[in-house]
């Protein structure tokens, strides 16, 4: 019998509503906190929350379909009294809620696709931290190098590195030149972990805000299906009861509504409708929170855009002067570095751009 299907469904919806209310009380405050204070560790709480929500939405959508079928069967069984149009409102309501829940499931599917992006980004952040550690150690090594200034002979006298005054100066200029480039690279690497964390935190803020909104919305939506089922069940049960004793109370259905049972039925329907009204108010309130969610979304999106711009601007920065390339030591004063080489089997010394042929010493 269809009414038993509705009875069972009503019980299941009550159970789901209670489960959703309990879960919402647990997850929504956590999401609200993540919305304003996103952290790297917060993603797990978000994942748990979304997973629980997705499960309940899937169950709710299944119940909505079941409810529509059960109500259709009831109406068909009572077709002589209840025309199909009498349950149109219910079908409309369930269809709309069903679509909304389907949209939410699509949202979850999109999120889970992006979830791997978040996981990868956070993993890449660890890699950037290692890169930054390597890069940060480099400027210290180079800029700390002034040992040429303190070279000493066996008697403790300072030995100047001053061949034509070039070598020491060229070397120190090279140290400064390379320190600038190394510092630039370290600066790029150093900003990446922070930029990634800011971007993922911005995204978490958006996601948590939307998640909290969905919790606020899903609870009354599922309650709405439950109330609507209750109303129709009361209607069907009442009509069945009246149909069981039509001879006592009247000749046609019009008379039925004049009976006490009819009034009780109407009262029940009206009570249900009032309950629906209350739930609709909750939904309107939930949509009111949409404004807050939009603000959170815009805030998160702004952070993401800011970080994107920071990355772009850093990428565009020259390494030194106007060059985007790493400075070449030979470009600085390469010709001033002394060198010794063999040309056609003859030793040649090059100092300050001048070549000296040396005789082969015995």
């Amino acid at each position: 019998m269809a009414s038993s299907a509705l009875d069972a469904l009503e019980a299941k919806l009550d159970e789901l509503e209670a489960a959703v209310a309990k879960a919402a009380a647990e997850h929504e405050p956590k999401l609200k906190e993540l919305e304003s204070k996103p952290t790297e560790q917060g993603w797990q709480a978000y994942r748990d929350s979304l997973s629980a929500l997705e499960k309940m939405v899937t169950t709710g959508r299944g119940y909505a379909t079941e409810a529509r079928t059960a109500v259709g069967l009831e109406q068909a069984a009572l077709a002589s009294v209840i025309p199909p149009s009498a349950v149109d409102w219910f079908n409309f309501l369930v269809e709309r809620i069903g679509k909304l829940l389907t949209s939410l499931l699509e949202f979850f599917a999109e999120w889970w696709a992006d979830e791997s992006t978040v996981t990868k980004l956070l993993k890449d952040r660890e890699t950037w931290i290692r890169i930054a550690t390597h890069a940060q150690a480099m400027p210290k090594a180079v800029s700390g190098d002034d040992s040429f200034k303190y070279l000493k002979g066996s008697a403790g006298e300072l030995v100047p590195l001053d061949w034509e005054g070039h070598v020491a100066n060229i070397y120190y200029a090279t140290v400064r030149q390379q320190a600038v480039a190394v510092g630039h690279l370290a600066g790029l690497a150093d900003m990446m972990p922070t930029a990634i964390l800011a971007a993922t935190n911005g995204a978490l803020s958006i996601m948590a805000s939307l998640g909290a909104l969905v919790w606020r919305l899903v609870t009354p939506l599922l309650r709405l299906i439950g109330k609507a089922v209750k109303v129709l069940r009361s209607l069907f049960v009442g009509i069945r009861r009246l149909l069981a004793k039509p001879r006592e109370v009247g000749k046609d259905i019009g008379d039925i509504w004049q009976t006490l049972d009819g009034k009780a039925l109407w009262k029940s329907v009206r009570g249900g409708a009032s309950a629906i009204n209350g739930v609709l108010k909750d939904i309107v309130m939930a949509f009111g929170n949409l404004i807050l969610a939009i603000y959170a979304y815009l805030y998160g999106e702004t952070i993401l855009k800011q970080q994107t711009e920071v990355l772009k601007s850093k990428v565009a920065l020259p390494v030194w002067e106007h060059s985007h390339d790493w400075p070449k030591p030979r470009d600085l004063a390469g010709r001033l570095w002394p060198s010794f080489k063999s040309v056609n089997g003859r030793p040649v010394l090059d100092i300050g751009g001048r070549s000296f042929d040396l005789p082969a010493t015995p």
Partner: protein, 123 residues
Amino acid sequence: MAGLSSNVGRIKDPLGDLSIDNTEHIRVVSAGIRQQIPVWDRQADALRQISAELQNLTLRAPTGESFFDEFLTAHREMITRVGTLATQGQAAMRDITGLLAATADAYEKAEEYNTWLALQRLP
């Protein structure tokens, strides 16, 4: 001094007075120069490690469907930029170690020549 090219004599200027024995100073200076080579080798190693770590990054391109796509595009540009600089930096470090080694060689070779020249002038 048959066989010597005419410019060889000018080496005396940078190396100082040939009557003074510079051998020890040249040894100290060339050793000092060579001691710098490992500093730049370590820099090159760090840059090689950076290049290797860049290969471990998993998000090398936007997915085309992600909320993060614009950020991922900028991230990809940053990977390319850091990778290019790390490669260029390694070449610069090799260049510097080469210059330092060549300079130390030049010091030693010139001193070797001057010692030889001084010996040739002995009565």
